[in-house]
Structures are given as structure tokens and as C-alpha cells.
Symmetry: C2
Subunit: 391 residues, 2 copies
């Protein structure tokens, strides 16, 4: 067992993790410190301040939870919901379903508003559910549904939530750092993400931010938060206010997140969003030459993640395996109703590069031709090139 | 903000994190991979197998939770306890208190058996509590209480738990990899730890193992586990059985844990325990020359962590600050009733080295002399030397 040979480098173009910049890898190797070391507290302050910029918020309660994206989802729900609270959850993919699952485990009364996988939620249906449920504490939706590549327009839902006196919770796991997201301007009360997608760091932390209204809701609870590990008022005391011990944060992960956020700010959030859009457009132009179209209709396609239907009759898992084994490239398959039918191709954070789009299309064309798919040789990379050159 | 100069290396001799070997740091920088990449699954298999060796168990459900030690504590409790279940918790320090806090958040009926901070739990008192409470589901105790440095003898408590039909849960955060721990032989049903103490990796994961009896208790629950993120049967499916997606594990943390465990097995668990004992004995011989004695009585002093009373009248925080600023050495202060009265000195994992003991005693003597403590010059390092030479 002692001999794990250095594995071959991967080009990570799946639903996450994505590749990270060598600056971020190097940051992980900085000296470990005590969890209350003044220098480490300064690093935490930097992370808090950079996360506020990334989220577009001035929320005091902004920090990184010591767990992956799902721990952020759970933190938001267990802090905001008490047994018996009414919550409306939008479900148009795997992660909306997960929100509903966790809300149920909180003892909340859960109403789901569904849309087909690959479609956005209908604001009118959400409004109706809020009206029917009555006294709703929380509306929870996913910004970019990683299982389908749909980006949900948020402002109408925020308005609907607030009209009905509900807090508005948004899963920004696949959007933060890659898609326009404005927590304060849009009226989002709770928003969490993950580090391994558009943020550009390895997996391991979950950035989260809560509005003063959401913090007030937590302070006013009549029951204790069911999780100590994810108790946000405790975490706020460690991260932001009196620096009391709660748990031993992971220094390497926090160093990495800090460096990734510094790089995002050097690039500029808008430039970064445009980069994600430009490379997604090139990818889609190329995939069209394979006869592959994205699952979501135009207008709600998220640039970080393209879920596209594979050519009819193709043994898709075989092609993905060959892509990994022969080219060292990872892309993802589908979940649930889309299993076996789609590929999920992520161009997120450091992985969103024009050169990666060309490399992937080149490899895919070779493998698809081997599987007997009829193709015009070189058409996909040429289409991607033209899309990139248009800019 | 962009310019974080490389911080000075720290000698970490506090209650954790401890220093880690450069091999472990290098392991973190191996290529990121997909969470279901066959090569990564092989790494996870290695970790599972190495953790079983470290815990002394053949339990199938053995894995590393994507969170710090407290997430392991919470995972054990939320999976084993249902609302209304009766649990007996031993409390003789901060972490026993935390067990009771989390058990309460699970809706359990919690009976605490207390001992003074610095003392071990009395098995007779535990037995009595088990008898009085009736139908106890779980007895939960801390092996090495990080707030006091007490090591709790476990076999009598395991026997008491089983005599009363209760499962036996042990917090091994500060013992795994540094102190004799035999999960199967002693009859421990649930045991969790952390990576940043005697295991020798950075903080960020929580190793955990559950006996078949404990797994049966989870399978037989009548209510869902209140946490999705920490749902151990879900985690078992990702880590061990059908490899279904649950969350995106942190590759750098798991690479690091694997390497640290490989190093522990190269050294041998018994050799490693002896190393921790030898260096702790040298430290205590040196501290005695400053008039400092460990808080726990002889016989229950844990070798990884020495909590010792500081000289009367000393402004202890000032000395710790100087130690960090002038020497780059971290040690810890006390919590709760011991705040301001003790230092907690960890010699754990890679930080447990004879040279570190001498370096610390040299620095402390210099700083104590500056504070006016009367000392025989060089007596502490000489005493440590003699203790080491005796072996």
C-alpha cells in the first residue's frame, strides 16, 4: 500500500472539483498555525472580506464552514428552520431535492414546487405555493442546478419570498465566482457555496453569508439549532466577533481559499463571468457539431456547467472512461432521469480556458468517430475557434 | 490584502494542530481528481484500511468524515441517538461537556456523570448512572480530555456499558495514533478522532469507526438521522459499498491523511506510543524544575498533552505571547475553571520530538527568568536530557 505512484495530472472538466492554479496549491503548503494565532486570524479576516466582495454583500455573518458544499446547505437550513416551520423548496434537479430532504430532517413542513429537470422554476408557481402554504418562514432554491445546468433567475423569486414575509435562501454552489450573483441587491437572505467550482480552490470548505434579517431569525429561535458543528452564531463568534474557540479550522483549506479569492479579485468578477460565458459558448458551438444540444432551453443555460444530450444510441459511460484513461480528461454523467442520457461538462474557475475547450472537443471527436458517430472531421474545434474569435 | 508574506514557520506544541511531516504536505499537492475517479477510490480504500489498523478494529464502517473532530463527535451522536433516547455522558472537561451539549440537541435524555477537571471518571459512578437511568442507549466518554490532559481508562467503562445493554462511544480525538487504543478488544462501539493531533496530518477530517452493533442500531432507527451531511449509512455507501455520490470529498485532505497513516504504520503503533511517552516524560521532568506539575494525578496523565499548572502569580498569557512572537513556538492556555492557571503543551504526532522538548524548555526558562521566576539555570533542559538518556 505504501507505494502510491504520483497519479497523472487530470484535466477536470466535470461538475467539480475543477483544476486549481499552482498559486492556490502552493498556498496550501504555508506553515500550519494555531487556530487562534494572530496571523491566522488575519488570514480569516481576509477571507471574510473577500467573500463579501464575491457574494456582493455587506453581511457581517460571512465565513467559510469547515465542510463541503452540502455542509453549507445543511448549515443554512438547520439554523433557519425550527420544527414545524413552513418552507417552500424549488425542486428541478438533484440539489433542489437535497434541500427538501434536509429541510424534512429539520422537522419543517416542506412544500415543494417542481419543474422538469432542465427547466427553471416558474415564478408564478412559486408565488402560488407561498400563498397556499401561508406563514412561510423560508423559500429555498438553487441558483445553478449542477445536475442540469439550469441557471434560475433569482430577483422575481426574492420579491415573491419577501411579499409573503419569507426569508430567501439560495444555493450558489455552482454560481459563486462564475455567474452574476448579487446577494444584497437581489435581497438574498442566506447564500452558500463551495470552493471547488467557480471559486477556484480545492473542495473542503463552504462559504456562506446571512443577512441581518436571517441572523435575527436565528437569534429569535425558541429551540436550539440541532447542529452544534454548524451553529452559525457559534461560528460567527469564532470567525468574526470574540474569537472564541469552536473547532480547529483547516489552515491549508483556508489558505487556499484566500489565494483563490485574491486571484478572482485580480481578474475582476465581471471579467471572470465573461470568461465563463465565452468558453461555454465555444464549447456549445463545438458540441452542436456532434449533434449535442444543452438540456436547458436558451436563456437559462448556466455558463459554468453544460449538461448536453449525448448522441442517440451512444454508450456514453464507455466514452467517458476512454476520455479519462486515454486523455486524462474528466467529464460527468447524468443523475436520476438524465442518467445515461447526458454529459455534464464543467468549465469552472481555473478549468474555464479556451485551450481546454479545444482539447476536449479534439478528444471527443476522436472517441465519437471510433464509436461510429458520423462527423465532419475538425468541424467541432473549428466551430469553437470561430466562437472564440467572434469576441 | 494581496500581499500575505509567507508566515514564519511555527513549532506547534499546543493542543493541536501539530506540525506535519513534509511528506504529508507534499501529498496534499498531488493532482486533484473527480470524487469517483478510480484512482481516488483506491486512495479512499487505502485510508479505510489504514484507519482500521490505527483504531484496532475490523469494523466495516470505518471512514473519514469531511469535517474536523467535532463533526465526528456530532456524526456519532446524531446517528446513534433518536429523540427520547437515554444517554449517559461522562463530563470531566470541555469535550465531555460538548458531548452532552450535542446529545441534548439530538433530543436525547441526557444524564451526566461528572468528575473534577483534571480527574478521571469513577467507573462506580458511571455504573450507578447507567443503573439509575434505565434502558440507556449509549454511554459516551472522552478518552484523552484535551482540556485537562487526563487519559480515561476505558475497559471498565466498556464493560459497564455492555452490562447495561448500552452502546459505548469514545472520543479519541487526542488519543488515536499516540495512545494505546483498541476498539475491538475493548468493546468500543463508536469511536471518532481528528487528523491534526497524534495522527500527523493537517486539520480537516474526522476518522470514525462503528461496530456492527452500532450500525444495527442506526439501521433500526424509527426516525431519520437529523443530519444528511453526517448520515453514516449514506457515507458508508460512498466510501465503502456502492460508491454512490454523497458529497465531494476533499482530495488534498484525504491524500494527506493517507500519507500520515502510512508513516504511522512505518513507525509502528507501539513505537509511536512509546515515542509519545518518552518525550512527555522528558517534558514533565523539565517542567518540574520550574515548579510546574501536571493537573492530573500520576497514572492518568496522557502522553500527547500535558496540562500543567503555571507558577503562582505568573501572567501566563504574556509568556505565551512572547513564546510565539520571539521563538515561533505555540503552546495553549486553559479553558473554563483552568483558564489563566495552566499551560497545555502538546507533543503529538510529528511534534513529539526530543529536540522540541529541549527547545521549548530552553525558551521557557529564558522567558520565566525574565518574568522574575527563580530558577536554577539550565536545570530544566538537564532534567529533560536525563529523562531521555534513561531510556
Amino acid at each position: 500500500m505504501q507505494e502510491l505512484t504520483e497519479p497523472r495530472d487530470r484535466l477536470l472538466l466535470g461538475p467539480g472539483p475543477s483544476n486549481v492554479n499552482p498559486r492556490v496549491i502552493r498556498a496550501m503548503t504555508m506553515p500550519l498555525m494555531g487556530y487562534l494565532d494572530p496571523t491566522f486570524l488575519k488570514v480569516m479576516d481576509d477571507v471574510t472580506s473577500l467573500l463579501r466582495q464575491a457574494f456582493g454583500t455587506s453581511n457581517e455573518l460571512t465565513l467559510a464552514i469547515s465542510g463541503t458544499g452540502t455542509s453549507g446547505m445543511e448549515a443554512a437550513l438547520v439554523n433557519l428552520l425550527e420544527p414545524g416551520d413552513s418552507v417552500v423548496v424549488g425542486v428541478n434537479g438533484l440539489f433542489g431535492g437535497r434541500l427538501a430532504d434536509i429541510a424534512t430532517r429539520c422537522g419543517a413542513s416542506v412544500t415543494t414546487v417542481s419543474a422538469e429537470w432542465g427547466q427553471a422554476l416558474d415564478p408564478a408557481a412559486v408565488e402560488q405555493a407561498l400563498a397556499d402554504a401561508g406563514q412561510v418562514k423560508l423559500l429555498a432554491v438553487v441558483h445553478v442546478e449542477t445536475s442540469t445546468g439550469v441557471v434560475q433567475p433569482l430577483p422575481p423569486l426574492a420579491e415573491a419570498a419577501h411579499r409573503h414575509g419569507a426569508l430567501f435562501l439560495v444555493d450558489a454552489v455552482t454560481s459563486l465566482g462564475g455567474v452574476d450573483l448579487r446577494v444584497d441587491e437581489w435581497g438574498i437572505d442566506a447564500c452558500y457555496s463551495a470552493t471547488q467550482k467557480c471559486v477556484g480552490a480545492p473542495p473542503g470548505l463552504s462559504p456562506i453569508t446571512l443577512s441581518p434579517r436571517a441572523v435575527e431569525a436565528i437569534s429569535g429561535r425558541s429551540t436550539p439549532v440541532q447542529s452544534f458543528y454548524l451553529d452559525l452564531l457559534h461560528l460567527q463568534r469564532y470567525w468574526i466577533t470574540d474569537r472564541t474557540y469552536h473547532h480547529t479550522a483547516s489552515m491549508p483549506m483556508i489558505y487556499a481559499l484566500r489565494e483563490a479569492l485574491v486571484m478572482a479579485m485580480e481578474e475582476g468578477l465581471e471579467n471572470r463571468q465573461r470568461r465563463h460565458e465565452r468558453n461555454a459558448a465555444a464549447l456549445r458551438a463545438g458540441l452542436a457539431e456532434f449533434g449535442m444540444r444543452p438540456v436547458p432551453p436558451e436563456g437559462i443555460r448556466a455558463s459554468p456547467l453544460t449538461a448536453a444530450l449525448v448522441p442517440e444510441g451512444l454508450e456514453e459511460a464507455k466514452v467517458r472512461r476512454a476520455l479519462l484513461n486515454e486523455y486524462g480528461i474528466e467529464i460527468g454523467g447524468g443523475f436520476g432521469p438524465l442518467a445515461g442520457k447526458i454529459w455534464r461538462i464543467g468549465l469552472m474557475g481555473e478549468s474555464s480556458q479556451a485551450s481546454h475547450v479545444l482539447t476536449l472537443l479534439h478528444a471527443l471527436e476522436t472517441l465519437l468517430a471510433r464509436e461510429g458517430v458520423e462527423l465532419a472531421s475538425g468541424a467541432a474545434v473549428a466551430a469553437a475557434h470561430r466562437s472564440l474569435a467572434e469576441e
